[in-house]
């Protein structure tokens, strides 16, 4: 397959207004696709559409393989850290040993017995990522996974994401952090008002973004 996800005429109308699309997207089979755009551009809605959590108003999505998602606000089950992870591991047919390994990789081994909902924001994001990785997804969606994290925690998440990408997991990441986008992106999708402004390889996007909306966004102007 020459792509991980292809959308044709994909659009979503909600609250009487078109929020996304129509979009014709072809995302590369591997590597990291970063989705950028101002607040309210429709990035989270697009991820939900691609992941199949909401039904499109028009158009279609073609993708294959196992998917997982880390939400903008992670959902922690009312269980311990270990039990949260084990829940996902067991569903994926894994063993307690897999759970231990994922906990260690996420740097959460010492917190295994703690209630997940009492974790700090950064720890919750790490757990949410570990839980998503438990099913060894072919496509991993990440919605601003480091939005409220300190630099060290951000790097820890980025390392885990890069590692997943290097083992062949397709990463689709939403972020407002231009530094993070530069570090991780292979290609960038820029949305504005639900419309695709550009989809280019990362290096080109940051040096010579062609759409005025993307240039304004990158230079820190408010785009309306």
């Amino acid at each position: 397959m020459a792509e991980s996800i292809r959308t044709v005429g994909l659009s979503l109308t909600a609250g009487g207004k078109r929020r996304v699309g129509p979009l014709n997207l072809i995302l590369p089979p591997t590597g990291t696709t970063v989705i950028m755009g101002p607040n309210g551009a429709g990035k989270s809605l697009l991820l939900r559409l691609l992941h199949g959590l909401i039904a499109p108003t028009t158009g279609s999505i073609v993708s294959a393989g196992q998917q997982a998602m880390v939400f903008q606000r992670p959902v922690m089950l009312r269980r311990s850290v270990g039990a949260n992870l084990m829940f996902a591991v067991r569903r994926a047919g894994g063993t307690p040993a897999d759970c231990q390994r994922l906990l260690a990789e996420a740097g959460l081994a010492d917190l295994a017995g703690q209630q997940a909902r009492s974790l700090s924001g950064g720890e919750q994001q790490r757990l949410a990522l570990a839980r998503a990785l438990a099913c060894e997804p072919d496509i991993l969606f990440l919605d601003e996974p480091t939005a409220s994290l300190d630099p060290a925690a951000t790097l820890a998440i980025e390392e885990q994401v890069s590692k997943a990408a290097s083992t062949g997991t397709k990463i689709i990441l939403v972020t407002h952090d231009a530094g993070q986008a530069r570090r991780l992106a292979d290609d960038v999708v820029f949305l504005h008002d639900g419309i695709l402004c550009e989809h280019t390889v990362a290096a080109e996007f940051f040096d010579t973004a062609t759409s005025p909306q993307a240039r304004a966004y990158l230079s820190g102007q408010i785009v309306l």
Binding site: H51, Q67, M69, F71, V75, R78, R79, F87, R91, R117
Partner: protein, 235 residues
């Protein structure tokens, strides 16, 4: 006033002496109401959880019905169970009328709607939070219900306690289908009703005290659990 104080003194003496009749009555009360709550939970918890997550035509009507059934007066349930179990009734051949089994059936019918409606509320709140995560993980409906029941367990135990409190305190249903037969179907509430009207205040009071202690304990347990489920770890 003299009689009143004397009655209390005798009541305490009965409780403290471990009177055999008293123990038998309390024991049967607990057996009937605990059986009823176990059965009501086996039916009501999965049903409530399913109603919380399922989307189908007529769901609102079912919710209204379950809520209405919550308010059914015990005597009406007693009457309906009586009619079903009496010799001429559809289930008459089982000969269950005036047995503890009949009382368990009546109380189960009384509290199953309560368990269903209250657990539906608890699970629906939880599900609004878990919904996307569970759909992202592609959980089946069965897996979703099991996980929600487990994660809602603290609040659901308070639901069960509320049902138990209602069952053990009701008199209308058990007196009709049980008949308050000494050594067979006499439970705390029916005995209190009978002994009071017969004028045996000490026994009625002793049973009343025990019932009060049970009710207070159940409420205290429910409050403690609710405090816990509102706390940091369960938030």
């Amino acid at each position: 006033m003299q009689d009143f104080t004397e009655a209390f003194r005798l009541a305490f003496a009965l409780v403290l002496s471990g009177d055999a009749d008293l123990i038998e009555i309390v024991g049967l009360s607990l057996r009937v109401s605990l059986s009823a709550i176990v059965l009501a939970c086996l039916i009501g918890l999965p049903l409530g959880a399913w109603l919380a997550i399922a989307r189908f035509r007529g769901r609102r009507a079912v919710l209204v019905l379950v809520n209405a059934l919550m308010g059914l007066p015990p005597v009406v349930i007693g009457l309906l169970v009586y009619l079903s179990l009496s010799r001429a009734g559809p289930l008459g051949s089982f000969g269950l009328l005036y047995t503890p089994t009949a009382m368990i059936i009546a109380q189960t019918i009384l509290i199953t709607p309560i368990i269903t409606a209250l657990s539906r509320q608890v699970i629906e709140d939880l599900y609004s939070e878990y919904d996307e995560q569970f759909r992202s993980m592609r959980l089946s409906q069965r897996e979703t219900i099991t996980a929600l029941l487990w994660d809602g367990r603290t609040a659901l135990i308070t639901v069960a306690l509320a049902g138990f409190g209602r069952a053990i305190a009701e008199v209308g249903a058990v007196i009709i289908v049980g008949g308050n037969i000494d050594h067979l179907t006499r439970v705390m509430t029916t005995a209190i009703a009978l002994e009071t009207s017969k004028g045996d205040l000490p026994l009625a009071l002793a049973l009343g005290l025990i019932l009060l202690v049970i009710a207070l304990t159940v409420n205290a347990l429910a409050m403690t659990l609710r405090g816990k489920s509102d706390g940091l770890a369960h938030g």
